[in-house]
């Protein structure tokens, strides 16, 4: 009786969208290695939609599978839709998680949200920067 569902195992063995994005539009980092898991999500946004999502994860099998499925669920979605990816949805999509691993599904959703926050913040910044004519320099 493996502790994980087949879906978790499949995503763990073949995680989608592993990696970093050069010049990402947003980055979200949650957790820390002291607690056990750490995830970094990178996003590219095109026309208010997630045109690319990548991640790096330090952690258990669940953490890796959660990262993978969140990246897959988010890919192509509008920012508003992507915000609707809740921990419960993540766990459901993975056909369940052991009780003591639920926090991993939280982390995944949080990391994505943080990346979106980061993008929006940068957007605000960039808008502000543009006003200050800073963006043109780059």
């Amino acid at each position: 009786m493996p502790i994980y569902s087949e879906k978790v195992m499949e995503h763990f063995m073949n995680p989608r969208n592993v990696g970093e994005i050069d010049n990402p539009d947003g980055v979200g980092e949650v957790g820390n290695p002291v607690c056990g898991d750490m995830m970094t999500f990178y996003i590219k946004v095109d026309d208010n939609h997630l045109s690319d999502v990548k991640f790096k994860t330090f952690g258990c099998g669940a953490a890796i599978a959660v990262s993978s499925i969140v990246s897959e669920m988010a890919m192509g979605k509008s920012l508003e839709e992507a915000r609707k990816i809740t921990p419960a949805l993540v766990a459901e999509e993975l056909e369940g998680l052991p009780k003591n691993k639920y926090h991993c599904s939280n982390l995944g959703a949080q990391a994505l949200n943080k990346a979106i926050d980061d993008y929006l913040k940068k957007q605000g910044k960039e808008v502000k920067s543009r006003r200050r004519g800073k963006n043109e320099k780059e």
Binding site: M13, D37, G61
Partner: protein, 395 residues
Amino acid sequence: MKRVYLDNAATTPILPEVVEAMLPYLRDAYGNPQSLHDWGDEARETIEKARGRVAALIGGQPGEIIFTGSGTEANNFAIKGLAQAQQSKGKHIVISAIEHFSVLHSAKTLEKWGFEVTQVPVDGYGLVDPEEVAKSMTEDTILVSVMHANGEVGTIEPIAEIAKVVKKMGALFHTDAVAAAGTIPVDVEQLGVDALSLAANQFYGPKGIGALWLKKGTRIIPFLDGGVQEGGRRAGTENVPAIVGMEKAAELAQQDMSSRIQRLSALREQLIADVSSEIKHTILTGHPAQRLPGNASFCIEFIEGESMLMLLSSKGVAASSGSACTSRALKASHVLTAMGIPPEIAQGSLLFSLGLNNSEEDVDYLVEVLPPIVDRLRQMSPLYAKFVKEQGGGK
């Protein structure tokens, strides 16, 4: 697919000779040793003979062996039973910080019962310093328990030295030898202990059977109350087939001990050398020399233990880890923590425990499959990415 079991610290396979020895007692010789008839006589004779063999493994007397249902039970029995028997003399207990949970949590229960418990720290190798034990003891100390060997990091403790300081201070000394007995030479006389726990499933015997060796004349309060079995000290129908299994396993362990140690130590050294050279940023945990023959425990930096175990498992390799993610309570092994290993490093804990059915090929296979697994997880790891960037930046 090749299957390689490198988790002998969790439980060893049972040797075929042991199963053979048990079979008659599972089949025809089903008597209860307490019964007054042929079936009972045979069963009684059988377990008394076994008592002698198990005692011989650790240099004790037959009458000093009390069979229990597990190593855990032997530890609960020793810690709770000896403390309760001595409580008129004092209520202070000393244990090491790296004891197995069955000692640690028994001591916690004693705290609830009004005893005071002091944990002695260990050094970076997991060694208990006899001086530290002496310092932690008071007039009120009635019992000290320090494990003989730690199954997670393999470190073997200086039990005889610790026993000396404990006896000088007039307290009882128990050692949890579950990971040691049947694996390395253990002699209660030489160690100078009062009580010692052992379990068959750690030396190629069956599960569900352990023993407490209790020095003759040492008072103990029974843990399992009930009938008069085991001289009134451990109630419950004696598990005759398992006792016979433990006997056979003890006999084989005693007979083959030095050759087993030689073989396993050689394999272990090969494994440690190969893993250390093939995988960078790998830390050997536990004492480099004073360690169990089959124990090769590491921390692999930048990645986490459970994910390593899962990928190893997909290659047919069984191992274990003391990472937080592999524990039900999501806490890193208290052993690694007590040794001062930082939590993010402890997350990369990986334990290979070699056993009699492992060969050089198994080690070769491991050394073939492990590096790509580590690579793959490091490629996925934000910690590793940071490290590489910092290294690159440092160039």
